[in-house]
Structure formats: structure tokens, C-alpha cells
């Protein structure tokens, strides 16, 4: 029950959003909403890996960007997004497996793990930035260097490349993907595998002495997170376009902020954090005479000092206390 209820709720909210929002929002706002959903999914993937696996990954955007690039390149080459999506999930998963093998089987610990993942995403950033010019193309897809791949083909109805999805349908797909990923994460965490992963987060040495293979569990969770981030990249590529910015330091930092603002150690928290922070960023961008970075920066500092646990855990701690004060 403790798993079934949240999953049912998440799916209900997703279906509701998929039905209502396309009617309520204008096209531009709807595309923006799809971007937010893709970012929420990225935050969810980091929330899973970091909050439940204790894996400090500064470079979740490496999988996000790689998923988007793989999708764009495959979709351009095939002229059909049906096979591009599985490829876009497989590539980041493979990267996560490789990187995870290097880190977990090399017994590299927290800060160093952060540096390696961050470094990976920066390498991809530098590399994609330098791929301008005609010699850099995969099949018929030019990599485009700093400009990225502007004409990323939209998703189409599976096996019908002549019927592309319109932005409303892309939004629906995105919201459903987010809800499904949430459900997958919830189920995984409930399974034996997930419980062991959480035990490892709590006390790695003890879990190992009890006979669990710490490395394998971390690797599994890391790969799952990588696949989810890749899916987020596909959704992002569908409404913006693919560019090296996806691998940049500022994106890598933002994901961490989303998770921390929403609440580390929860799954819904990162989703809420991502959407709130993005709404705020968009709003700050419209203010005259005020640099959005200044506003955001000050808010983050205040957030760390005032709600260090993140919004969701703080709310969970505060609300019952308030309710008790009100006599029933």
C-alpha cells in the first residue's frame, strides 16, 4: 500500500495534467512546461542516484546530454524516432555502466566520485563544442559544434515517421514518462535490490560485511539513473534543441540545486524543486533592472541557511506540528 498509493496518485496527476494543461496553456507556455517536465525527470534521476544510493554525481547532465545527442543523431539518420528512443536510452546507460564500473570497482569515494562525474560531463562539453565543421558528422547528422543540432526531429507515432507528434502530444508523452519513471523508481526502491541500495547508503561497510555486493548495487542504481537522465534528454531535445550547453557546468550545478532545494532523500522533492526553481528562473528573467543570477544566488544562499533539509522534508516536519496546534 505504501508504494501503490503514491504511484496511483502520481499517475492520476500526470493524466490530469496531460488532459488539462494543453487546453489551458498557450503553445509557448506549453512547450516551456514540457521543458520543465524534462528537467523534473532529470532531477528525479539524480534524486534517485544521490538521495537513495548515496552516489554523489555532479555530472548527471552527462547522461542527459548524451541521451539528447544520441536521440537527435539517430532520429536524423533513420528519419524515424521509433528506434532513436531506445538508442537514446541505451547510450547513457552504457556510459553509466562504464563510468560506474570505473568508480565503484575502483573504490573511489564521495568527493572524488563527484569530480570524476563532473569531469566527464565537462569533457563532453569541450568535445561537442569543438565539433563545428563538415568533418564532424555521424551519418547524415552534423554535430554542429557550439551551435549544436538545431533541427532535432520531433517524436513521431511509432513506426509512422510521417506522423510527427504536435507539441500538445509531446507534452502528454513527457508527463506520462515522468510519472512512469517515478513509479519505476518507487518500485525499485521497494524491491530487495532497492532496500540493499539504501542500506549501503546508510552504512557501506556494514552492508558489505553482511555479504551484500556494494559495487554491483551501486552500479545498478547508477545505470538506472543514467537511463532516466537520458530519457529526460530526449524530451528536452524535443522542445528546445541539442547543444553543448546541456553538458555545461551551470546545468550540472543546477540539477544539484533542484535536488537539494526540493529535498535530498525523497523522490517528489527533486521534481518540485526543479519546477519551482525553473519557474523562478523564468520569472527572474522577465524582471527589468535586475540580473536573474543575483536574485537566484541570494535565494539559494537563504535556502541553505533557512531550510537546509529541502522544502519537502521541512514541510513534512512542520505541517503535522501546525495541525496539532489547531484544536480539532
Amino acid at each position: 500500500m505504501r508504494t501503490a498509493l503514491p504511484i496511483a496518485l502520481a499517475l492520476a496527476v500526470a493524466v490530469l495534467a496531460a488532459l488539462l494543461l494543453p487546453r489551458l496553456l498557450e503553445l509557448f507556455a506549453l512547450i516551456n512546461a514540457t521543458v520543465f517536465v524534462s528537467m523534473a525527470l532529470l532531477a528525479l534521476s539524480l534524486g534517485l542516484v544521490w538521495g537513495f544510493g548515496g552516489i554523489l554525481c555532479f555530472g548527471q547532465t552527462a547522461f542527459f546530454g548524451l541521451g539528447a545527442y544520441s536521440y537527435a543523431i539517430a532520429a536524423i539518420n533513420f528519419g524515424d524516432s521509433t528506434a532513436a528512443v531506445p538508442i537514446a536510452l541505451a547510450m547513457p546507460t552504457l556510459l553509466a555502466l562504464g563510468l560506474g564500473y570505473l568508480m565503484f570497482y575502483g573504490r573511489i569515494s564521495d568527493v572524488y566520485m563527484g569530480v570524476i562525474t563532473l569531469t566527464t560531463t565537462l569533457i563532453l562539453n569541450k568535445f561537442t563544442n569543438s565539433t563545428a565543421g563538415d568533418e564532424w558528422r555521424i551519418g547524415s547528422a552534423p554535430l554542429g559544434g557550439f551551435n549544436g543540432i538545431p533541427g532535432t526531429p520531433p517524436l513521431n507515432v511509432p513506426f509512422h515517421p510521417d506522423i510527427p507528434l504536435d507539441p500538445e502530444q509531446v507534452f502528454d508523452v513527457a508527463v506520462i514518462c515522468l510519472a512512469l519513471c517515478y513509479a519505476v523508481a518507487k518500485l525499485v526502491l521497494r524491491s530487495r535490490f532497492g532496500r540493499v541500495a539504501m542500506a549501503i547508503r546508510e552504512n557501506e561497510v556494514r552492508a558489505e560485511l553482511l555479504g551484500y555486493d556494494v559495487r554491483l548495487h551501486k552500479l545498478g542504481l547508477f545505470a538506472l539513473g543514467g537511463a532516466m537522465a537520458g530519457l529526460a534528454g530526449v524530451l528536452f531535445a524535443n522542445c528546445v534543441f541539442v547543444s553543448p550547453t546541456m553538458f555545461s557546468l551551470s546545468y550540472a550545478g543546477q540539477v544539484i540545486i533542484w535536488v537539494l532545494v526540493g529535498g535530498l532523500g525523497t523522490l517528489v522533492g527533486p521534481v518540485i524543486g526543479a519546477i519551482l526553481v525553473q519557474l523562478l528562473t523564468t520569472y527572474a528573467g522577465t524582471l527589468p533592472d535586475l540580473d536573474p543570477n543575483l536574485l537566484l544566488g541570494v535565494l539559494f544562499m537563504l535556502a541553505v541557511v533557512i531550510v537546509p533539509l529541502g522544502l519537502l522534508p521541512t514541510a513534512q516536519a512542520v505541517l503535522p506540528r501546525l495541525r496539532r496546534r489547531v484544536p480539532a
Binding site: L102, G106, V111, T119, K126, S130, L290, L294
Partner: protein, 288 residues
Amino acid sequence: MDYAIVVALQIATGVATLVIISLGLAVVFGMMRVINLAHGEFLMLGGYSALLARGAGVNLWVALLVVPPLAVGLVGAIVERLLIRRLYGRMIDTMLATWGLSLALIGGVNMVFGNSISGFSAPLGSFVVGRFHVASYDMFLVVAAVVLSLAIWAVLRLTPAGLLARGTMQNPEMAAALGVAPERVYAVTFAAGAALSGLAGGLIAPVAGVVPTMGTAYIAKAFIAVITGGAAMLAGTLVASGLLGTVATAVTFLSTPVFGEVALLAVAIVLLRLLPRGITGRFLRRAL
């Protein structure tokens, strides 16, 4: 022959730049376990303070070498008092808060000075090696890196203040029991680290160009050099900078600057795989 000399000089410059931009971060991270993501913006503030001082007619060398550490040291002291002090021992929170600080500083400076590149022309001119001209300021950077490293070593190893700082870092409770106030030591250390970052900003201003976002170009490199160095902050940062800077500059000569940077990052990953505790986790353990 002259080509080889020029390459060697460029490598020395690359390493020296890496050392200069990493030292401030190394002091703060190595001594206090605080990851200061606003380190790049401290560099940027150093650059702007030099620019302002120069604009006010201050002597060029004073503007580059004296004003930035004083100005940014002061900023560091204020930041420590208002922000860092509340977060000691919470590494991730400090990271988030200093990332916020970094954004706020970029935004603030952008509002005041605008998003345009200003700069100095590098002083000292150039000298001739065979068929090539080499900027003398590059050699000045090499000397500056050596002098700075020696100065930090001397302060930590030879002065009573350095002894107090090292003792407090090793065991704050014991230091407190012996009558040292750890908060004051932390405050001074953070301000000193900020001053070093500011000085670095002044030093690289003539070669880098001063923009509000200049810090982001350096923070990742500095961070990686410090972490790859490992526990012994000074020796680690120097060795790591030496290795990474050499690889980056050599690859830059062989292909393009982009692949130089990629090589730097790739070597850092391989190094950490082979030496999971950083270079000084295995070698030079007793060093400072």
C-alpha cells in the same frame, strides 16, 4: 632547438597558471574541507578590483598585486562571517551556498559593470628566443607561482600562526582546549584563501581579460587540480598542477586548445582511478 625552448616555456606557463588559480581553493579546501564554488568569482573580483584601481590611476603593479588580495580578502572575511560560518562540517550545504554566492556575484557584477570584456595589455613586453617572441609576463607568472608556493609553505611551516592553523585543522577540539579559538582560525584561513584567489585574479587579469563570467573558465580546472592532488594540499596541488598543466599544454601544441583541456580532464580521471585518494594519498604523504 628554439622551438623546444618555446614549448618548454609554454608548459611552464601553463603549469604556473594552474598553480596560481588553484592555491586559494587549495588552502580553503585543504585546511577547512570547504568546497568554495565561488572561488572563480573571487578570481573575477580580483580582476575587477585591479581594473578599478588602475582606472583610478594607481601604479600598474600595485593594482595587479596589492589591491586584489586586499579587496577580495575583505570580501572573503565578510562572506565567512555571514555565510560560511553557519555551515562548517556540512560540505554539501557549503557547496550549494557558495554556488549561490557565485551566481549572485556574477549577477551583481554584471549589473554594475555590464557584460563586456575589459582588460590590461600585458606589461613587460616580450623577449626573443631564436625565431620566436615570448611574452615576458608569462615568465613573471612562473616566478609568481614559485614565490607564492614558497610563501604559503613558509607561513604554514615556519610561523606561529601557521602552526596554530595546522593544529586547529588536525584537531579543533584539542586546539580549543589549549586556548585557541577555532572560529577565529577558520575565519582568518578563509579570508587568506580568498585573498590568494583575489591575487590570482589580479595576476591573470592581463592575460585572461576581465568579464563577469571569467570565473567559470577556471573553477573546474582549479577544483580538479586540488582534488587530484589529495590530502597534502600544497604538495598535492603543485604536483597535480605540474602533471595536468604539462599534459594540457603539450596536447594543445600537438592539436588544439580544446583537446588540451580534454586531455587534462581525461588524465585527471585516470589518475583518480589509479590513486583513489589523490596523488598525495600515495606519494609525498608527509608533505604539507
